[in-house]
């Protein structure tokens, strides 16, 4: 399908926090209570529209198991956005956030937009992590924060789309060099051919972006 930009996302976080369910809810709008353990990485894609532009989100849903940690780390590179997910009903998943964040910061580019997500907000009765704690963590580390429920779909769209908006803004500001694919942004096929309206927009906003792509 034709798109103006492609953003690469990664979803990271402890095993069982609902990463694959979030992806399934976002791409297929359905919820699957029992999910196979993710091996390495699985993919999902969806088209969204920001500022009248078609943007393809290519989401890399990584395995949360410790065994795959070394593998999944190699996938961080070239992501424009990351969803760092914890489970509000399991404090340990919240406690591991610092490690995940360090990992992400170390293996990805510094401009990557990170969204902190407290998932399973539908299970209020089993809540172990207060919303305020999530907010505080996000504030402290300069992340965007949101509580979601992959089951009820609450905030799922917002989580993915707000991240994309933030990335899009960074492109407009010239923070992201869209011609460097290591940033996790690719220009759509119709744009790369013509030099691109998107490319021109980016170049206009940030001088670094430059003119001719490819």
């Amino acid at each position: 399908m034709a798109y103006a930009y492609l953003f690469k996302y990664i979803i990271i976080g402890d095993t069982g926090v609902g990463k694959s369910c979030l992806l399934l809810q976002f791409t297929d709008k359905r919820f699957q209570p029992v999910h196979d353990l993710t091996i390495g990485v699985e993919f999902g894609a969806r088209m969204i529209t920001i500022d009248g532009k078609q943007i393809k989100l290519q989401i890399w849903d990584t395995a949360g198991q410790e065994a795959f940690r070394s593998i999944t780390r190699s996938y961080y590179r070239g992501a424009a956005g990351a969803l760092l997910v914890y489970d509000i009903t399991r404090r340990d998943t919240f406690n591991h956030l610092t490690t995940w964040l360090e990992d992400a910061r170390q293996h990805s580019n510094s401009n990557m937009v990170i969204m902190l997500i407290g998932n399973k907000s539908d299970l209020e009765s089993r809540r172990e992590v207060k919303k305020e704690e999530g907010e505080a963590f996000a504030r402290e580390h300069g992340l965007v924060f949101m509580e979601t429920s992959a089951k009820t779909a609450a905030n799922v769209e917002e989580a993915f789309i707000n991240t994309a908006k933030e990335i899009y803004e960074k492109i407009q500001e010239g923070v992201f060099d869209i011609n460097n694919e290591a940033n996790g942004i690719k220009i759509g096929p119709q744009h790369s051919a013509a030099g691109g309206a998107g490319g021109a927009g980016g170049a206009g906003a940030g001088g670094a972006a430059g003119g001719g792509c490819c």
């Binding site: 399908m1 091996i39 390495g40 990485v41 993919f43 894609a45 290519q58 890399w60 065994a67 795959f68 070394s70 593998i71 190699s74 996938y75 590179r77 070239g78 096929p189």
Partner: protein, 550 residues
């Protein structure tokens, strides 16, 4: 174009006057002017009727007229208002009155020239007012006829109609509002007064442009252009008699505002039309509306349709080309992203191997290098061995599945081949169906199937690599052998698919042979492409095998 309000009025009158002149010219040429005038006086009612008919006749020539008809009475009304109500505090009204006063001086001349019989009797004045109305409508009709006869009326009309179409909604709304005011709030003026005013107005402008009476072709054309912009000013006659009955002495301001708007709209329209092109010469040329080469509307429409069809066809072709574009399809089936992930993994592992090499003793280093070389040798694809026959009691997909499982049994991993097997089943179902298919459908399915099978294969390599990396006990030799065998099975599967589709294509009796041959060539090309992707994926897996051994 004049811009001040007072001048606006003049220009409006001017338009009226110009038409007037044309009518006069016409009459003089036909040399029955006098009769006409007499006739008018003797049979005022009939002339009004005839004028009404004139107007109806002229209407179908252009939609624009209808709109102007609505505007015009209001225009005229305003002049009346200005004169009648001196208390009017709009500054420009004073100027109007002034100009009208000057008009009076010329009135006699004009009257002498125009009317043979002019009495001072009230009755006759009234008749004359009727006559004026008639004249105005006559003029309207005449000018329309005239412009048409000049061969350019079409152009103006069409330009106007398109322009007016845009403002119709505005003007109709405005004029509707105003006519409401007129009908309800404004008393009927003295007909005598009205008649005088009309004459005054016309006389005034006549005096201003005496030279325009020259019967010059160009001038006429130009005038006509202006007329069209100022059409606003004259068709009011026909409606005047009706509307004025309701006119009373209130609402001046509302009317003034509305009229200003109307005039501005009319002028703006003409400005747009004439923008940097007085006389609209260029625009008419552009539209092919010059006299002598009138365009045939149906031809224009035919050409437009042909052009649109052509564009549609090109767009459709592009869309279809995209639809059967192998790389796009491969991407859609997530083949590209799996390949990308596998590449990242492969690079990462290669770096780790190099690190180990650097850290190792010189002696160990040699060992590592040798082991790595051995792995590469193990992974060399064997030369075509004889095709082992599949047992007859097994379906093709099942045989394929079994081959894959046998090939990978030493890998020590639980690999999922279901999606590949299911795809194979679907393809066989598709090809064995008796539905008549054209070559294009088969070709599309062929390219899409090859892309999908390749994407699924690449995914298997990717998954295998990931699982091998987390495997606790490695047996590199077995793994290398298994993966090599798997590669053989997969590439054979690809060529099998290509063959199935080409056989099907060849079996089509009807159809374009050249096109079919073209498709067959493309299918084999894409199957070669697919094999290359699979081989690449296999090569990317090599470091993952090697790291298990060093």
């Amino acid at each position: 174009m004049p811009s001040s309000d007072s001048e606006d009025f003049e220009s409006a009158d001017e338009g009226q006057e110009e038409n007037d002149k044309k009518v006069r010219k016409k009459r003089t040429s036909s040399s029955n002017y006098g009769d006409n005038a007499l006739e008018t006086i003797s049979e005022p009612k009939e002339t009004i009727k005839s004028s009404a008919r004139h107007q109806t006749d002229s209407k179908p020539k252009s939609d624009g007229w209808d709109d102007f008809d609505i505007d015009c009475p209001i225009e005229n009304e305003k002049v009346v208002e200005n004169k009648e109500m001196k208390k009017c505090n709009v500054s420009k009204s004073k100027e109007d009155i002034k100009s009208q006063d000057t008009g009076w001086d010329d009135f006699d001349d004009w009257g002498n020239e125009e009317t043979l019989i002019k009495t001072t009797e009230q009755k006759q004045q009234e008749v004359k007012s009727d006559k004026d109305i008639k004249e105005l409508t006559d003029k309207l009709a005449a000018s329309t006829v005239q412009s048409s006869s000049w061969g350019w009326g079409w152009g103006v009309d069409s330009l106007l109609s398109s322009a007016t179409a845009g403002i119709t909604s505005i003007t109709s709304q405005v004029s509707q509002g105003i006519s409401n005011v007129l009908e309800t709030g404004i008393g009927a003026p003295d007909p005598e007064e009205l008649a005088r005013k009309n004459l005054k107005a016309t006389a005034e402008v006549t005096e201003k442009h005496p030279d325009r009476n020259v019967n010059d072709d160009k001038e006429v054309v130009k005038e006509a252009a202006q007329t069209s912009s100022d059409d606003v000013s004259f068709p009011f006659g026909s409606l005047l008699s009706g509307v004025t009955k309701f006119v009373e002495t209130t609402g001046t301001k509302v009317i003034a505002g509305g009229l200003d708007t109307l005039e501005t709209i009319g002028k703006k329209t003409m400005e747009v039309l004439q923008d940097g092109d007085p006389g609209l010469a260029k625009k008419r040329a552009m539209l092919g509306l010059d006299p002598g080469e009138k365009p045939v509307l149906s031809q224009i429409l035919r050409e437009a349709k042909a052009k649109a069809d052509e564009e549609d066809k090109i767009r459709e072709e592009k869309r279809e080309a995209k639809e059967v574009h192998y790389e796009n399809l491969f991407d859609d089936f997530e083949g590209l992203v799996h390949l990308e992930a596998l590449e990242m993994l492969s690079k990462q592992v290669s770096m780790r191997i190099e690190e180990r090499l650097r850290a190792a003793d010189p002696e160990k280093k040699q060992d590592i290098k040798e082991t790595m070389q051995q792995v590469i040798e193990l992974c060399e694809i064997p030369e075509d061995e004889d095709d082992e026959e599949t047992s007859e009691d097994q379906s093709k997909p099942d045989a394929f599945h079994e081959k894959l499982q046998i090939a990978t049994q030493d890998l020590g991993l639980k690999l999922q081949f279901q999606s590949l097997v299911k795809q194979y089943t679907d393809i066989l179902d598709f090809l064995s169906s008796n539905d008549s298919m054209n070559e294009k459908v088969i070709y599309k399915r062929a390219v899409s199937s090859l892309a999908q099978a390749t994407a699924l294969s690449v995914e298997i390599y990717h998954k295998t690599a990931e699982m091998l990396l987390v495997k606790t006990r490695r047996s590199t030799a077995d793994e290398a052998d298994a993966l090599t065998q798997m590669t053989v099975v997969l590439t054979k599967h690809i060529s099998e698919l290509a063959t199935l589709f080409t056989v099907k294509l060849n079996s089509i009796a009807s159809g374009n042979k050249d096109q079919i041959n073209n498709y067959i060539t493309n299918i084999f090309l894409e199957s070669g492409n697919s094999s290359t992707y699979i081989q690449n994926a296999f090569q990317l897996t090599l470091p993952i095998l090697q790291i298990g051994a060093v």
